[in-house]
Amino acid sequence: MAESGTKLRTILRSATLYLGLLALFVAGAALSPQFLTMDNQRDVLWQVSGNGILAIGMTLVILTAGIDLSVGSLLSLCSVVCAMLLMQRKWTHATMVAVPAFAAGCGALAAWLTWRLWPGQGGRIVRRAGITGIGLAAIALAAMWAASRVPHGFGVIGVLLLVPPVGLLLGLISGAIIAKGKLQPFIVTLAMMVSAVGLAKYIAGQGGRVHPIYTGDITTEAVAPESFKLLASNITVFGKDLIPVPGLFFAGSALLAALLLSQLRIGRYIYAVGGNEETARLSGINTDRIKMLVYSISGVLCAVAAVLYCAQYEQGKADAGFTRELDAIAAVVIGGTSLMGGRGGVGGTIVGVFIFGYLGNILNLRGVSTEFQSILKGFIIVLAVLLQEGILARWIGDTVRRLRRATA
């Protein structure tokens, strides 16, 4: 009996979230005739995709009872790196960061694949030597390939290969300090947030100048290849520009994260670490590795969002991701993932992202100023959490009961 009660409550709670989104949708349709148009819906998807990708990584981190304050800064840093890789045809600070990160990433990937796929035979020493050898070979090959590409500049595929390892590396550093140093995620990622912005400005040069990728200084710099515009285009379905490419990236990362959480052992471990770290550790789970993994994933997703940012705004700059971590955290929290860890998931986060997106969109359509939008968003965050925790319902119930008692 007690169980059906809690079950009903959980269903109601998750339903609150979807009902909230539905209510917002209906309100939008009522308030503005443009709201329901295909173009407007596509615009919303455009706008939410970047925050959505960051929020997916943030969800994984928060599920482990952590927090990643560095996502905005990593986005800034990666946007600068991405812009410079696209424009420059020579060794710069950007290539000096991205090429080694890419090589290291390839090496680690190759070593890991060998470790997973190598059948048991051959003995420990041979196996270790093999894994190390293959890893080193992959590093050398990747470094040679990337270095050979530097004089020609990088295109879409180039940046999609070279920028994510930068995010991965910085996320891994945060994660490793949190796990091995047993430090508070808040403090470690705060430090990373500060340092990454500094690094972004240093790489950008001249105190953090903006790198517009199509209108760069023509005399000294080339511009980004036209092919890069693909990332900022819509895919045409039935003769209409229907699906923005960033939306596909958002959907893809959400899908992968959802599969990770529900279908893989690692996903279960993420929940366990957030639910009770000591229990998880005593159950034989390598909790350090799980923590390093989630911050690394968050870092990679920051880099992906950064590449899309470059494509959409046609520039890279050291303050591109300023306060973006807060939007991501807000979306995750609205989506019902507990900041205490262990509860929540990607589904809620997607809804949270869209609630945020639709709200901004409706207010824009109604011509509400951005200042006022900000104020309202703060209210919405509190309201959403109150609704989900069932606190608002309790308040209302209590008030009704009190009024009834007073009248009786």
Binding site: T6, A272, G275
Partner: protein
């Protein structure tokens, strides 16, 4: 002790009872959990409230303490009808509850804790620290005279903190004191001191409601016993007229033939050999485990006796890999040398470790029953990392049958289960790893008699199947009854090794202090 109990004079019915609760009913939603419960407490009485987990004791006490307000029935305090709408109300009605988990603010001083929310003020409406300290000192003169009231509470052990809580209750002029399992974190000496204080309060005319699972305590302290079962009032009788067997019968509604159904089996090969194991944890100045050697053979239960802080829990943790490579000494598991570098190594070597704190280190409270059960076995059951198909159910169902687990469903949240069933989930989780050596640290702490009997029965079954068990328990009757051999630890060292025949409560205690 028994004769003393029987000679206790039963207080005559004089004047109105301090507390009377009559036909109390309470429902959560549509589910009624208290079906007309009655309780009366007289001044100068220790009244034991007894029942299995889920019997409704806590619910009743929360009503009395003003936590639950939507109930029906009658409540009188000192003959006057009373109804509390908040915990604050209950305090004003001079009811105080001392919770199992203490409710003190660790970094505030003793005095600040005692007067939290009702600090004495100066003329300028600032806190009058001088008077607060003086008042606190006065209140604690009897309870804990040696205490410095300006020190933070966190500097004192749990036993002293409990006395501070009692002092806090007295500062609010409480006449009815509810003690919920107050000795669960105390050593026997500390508990003895607490009992003296409770008897003193009783002599001063307070009414004490004492909730406990420990029979010895109930019979040592209580004047009368009220028993609840499944939200029903079973009965109330003077302790001297209700013998132990009948009390258990009242509690579980069935006769438990034998509380400790121990089968002694023939020990087999050596499963665990520990030689000169020592542990100095990071930051600790002294060794918590000091040069301990012992062995466990297949099919036997080796019991470890000792007081709180004896180092027994740390010994088990060291064997399992909880402390990584920190412990020194040598271990052999099943004849092979073993270095417990991490819990995963312990699990792979066939060791299972049931810790003494279900909530903090045993369960993931945000997960379902099923997910808690499979947590330690996923690596083995899903080596490729995919959690597809129903393999978790397939693993869990036979075990939950074997352990006669009572859960609404395997997908129910773990928090919806009673303490005894939560403990069974932990046991199932470890059995699923197919261990040969079970390290059990207080496996029956805070669970009801029925579940205890189930767990003892299971231990017999496991030893019969050839498992070895290393058991820590602070309950001496349990230790003596369930162990084939007993070792006693004090201050990290082994102080005695006794065979089943040699062991008596006195000998174990003598070695433990």
């Amino acid at each position: 002790m028994a004769t003393e109990t029987h000679n206790r004079p039963v207080i005559a019915d004089a004047g109105p009872p301090l507390l009377r609760m009559c036909d109390v009913r309470k429902a959560f939603g549509n589910v009624e959990v208290l079906h007309g419960v009655t309780l009366d407490v007289r001044p100068g009485e220790i009244h034991a409230l007894v029942g299995e987990n889920g019997a409704g004791k806590s619910t009743l006490m929360k009503i009395l303490a003003g936590v639950y307000t939507d109930w029906t029935g009658l409540m009188e305090i000192g003959g006057q009808p009373a109804r509390f709408h908040s915990p604050r109300d209950a305090e004003d009605g001079r009811v105080a509850i001392i919770h199992q988990e203490l409710a003190l603010v660790p970094y505030l001083s003793v005095a600040e804790n005692m007067f939290l929310g009702r600090e004495p003020l100066t003329r300028w409406h600032t806190v009058d620290h001088g008077r607060m300290r003086a008042d606190a000192r006065k209140l604690l003169t009897q309870l804990a005279p040696s205490i410095d009231v300006s020190r933070p509470v966190a500097e004192y052990p749990v036993s002293i903190q409990q006395l501070i809580e009692i002092g806090k209750a007295l500062s609010r002029n409480a006449r009815i004191l509810i003690l919920d399992e107050p000795t669960s974190a105390l050593s026997d000496t500390e508990a003895g001191r607490l009992f003296d204080i409770l008897r003193e309060l009783k002599a001063q005319g307070a009414g004490l409601i004492y909730i406990s699972h420990k029979m010895e305590e109930i019979y040592a302290l209580a004047d009368r016993i009220t028993v609840l079962r499944d939200g029903e009032y079973v009965g109330c009788r003077p302790a001297s007229e209700l013998d132990r067997d009948e009390l258990i019968h009242w509690m579980v509604g069935r006769q438990i033939e034998q509380l400790f159904p121990k089968h002694v089996s023939q020990p087999g090969r050596e499963l665990l050999r520990v030689e000169h194991l020592s542990l100095t944890p990071a930051g600790a100045g002294r060794k918590l485990v000091d040069d301990v050697s012992l062995c466990v053979r297949a099919g036997e239960v080796v019991g470890i006796g000792g007081l709180m802080g004896s180092g027994a829990s740390e010994l088990l943790g060291s064997i399992f890999g909880q402390y990584g490579r920190r412990p020194t000494g040598t271990l052999h598991v099943d004849g092979k040398p073993f270095v417990p570098a991490s819990p995963l190594h312990g699990i792979d070597a066939g060791i299972a470790f049931v810790t003494n704190d279900r909530k903090a280190t045993g369960l993931v409270l945000s997960m379902s029953v099923l997910r808690n059960m499979t947590l330690a076995s996923l690596k083995r059951a899903a080596p490729r990392g995919r959690l597809s198909g129903g393999f978790e159910r397939t693993l869990a169902e036979p075990l939950s049958r074997e352990l006669s687990l009572k859960a609404p469903s395997l997908h129910a949240p773990i928090t919806s289960l009673s303490g005894g069933n939560q403990q069974k989930v932990i046991l199932a989780k470890w059995l699923m790893t197919q261990p040969m050596l079970l390290l059990l640290d207080e496996p029956t702490r805070g669970i009801d008699v029925g579940a205890k009997a189930d767990i003892y029965e299971l231990m017999n079954r496991w030893t019969a199947a050839g498992l070895g068990i290393l058991l820590i328990t602070s309950e001496l009757p349990e230790l003596l009854a369930m162990s084939d051999r007993i070792v006693v630890m004090a201050h990290g060292r082994l102080t005695a090794e006794l065979s089943r025949k040699e062991a008596t409560q006195e000998r174990v205690m003598a070695a433990a202090v």
